[in-house]
Symmetry: C2
Subunit: 129 residues, 2 copies
């Protein structure tokens, strides 16, 4: 199957698939004209990658997860460790964003938002400490 079909099957853009080959995540075959030729196992990997990326795993995480996925002798502890680390990073990000959200929504709430220049948002940003 050509890249267009693999893209449709996996839900990933063809550009992304080429990129994944570039960085060695997948190794589709080539036909006589140089077109990439995807096996079922390739599209299966692409779906795996799409899901892992949708969960926010980095490409390097994906590479490691893919290797564990392929290794039937893996220890689930190794997979779990990657996932737990990533979960912790997500939780940190959420906390950071929630802190921004609190500050910002306070500022927005206190700003009249009319045609006058007085603005607590700018005041707070420009406050001399």
């Amino acid at each position: 199957m050509n890249i267009g079909e693999a893209a449709e099957k996996s839900g990933l853009p063809a550009k992304t698939i080429r990129y994944y080959e570039d960085i060695g995540l997948i190794k589709p075959l080539r036909d006589t004209t140089g077109y990439r030729s995807f096996r079922e196992s390739d599209t299966h990997k692409l779906m795996f990658l799409g899901r892992a990326r949708a969960l926010g795993f980095t490409i390097e995480d994906c590479r490691n997860l893919l290797a564990l996925w392929e290794d039937t002798d893996r220890a689930s502890a190794d997979v779990r460790a990657i996932a737990k680390d990533h979960l912790r990073e997500i939780e940190v990000k959420i906390a950071d964003l929630q802190s921004m959200q609190r500050t910002l929504s306070d500022l927005v709430r206190n700003c009249a938002g009319d045609d006058r220049p007085d603005c607590p948002i700018l005041s707070q940003l420009g406050d001399v400490p």
Copy 2:
């Protein structure tokens, strides 16, 4: 004042300050030897930028906010609109991350994490739909 002092005052790395000059956010003077010479107004702007960046505003947002900050005839509505848009983006990001968090914590909870290969994390990622 030289860049080192401006960095200390503003809490921004010197490299970042040079970058902000590069992209036209600040315009420090130069002394006879080519060294940047920062006025109080420059460090004040840098502090403004540091706070706005800490709230997650993009550089382009910062550029606009800075212009509004400098414009005493601004309408607070313009500031508020930028902040509200950004707030909405933050809320979307939080929701996305929370969705990842839910999925991931479920997967982590259901994974034994021992030396056996069975792993619901990999199963879920590799599930044929």
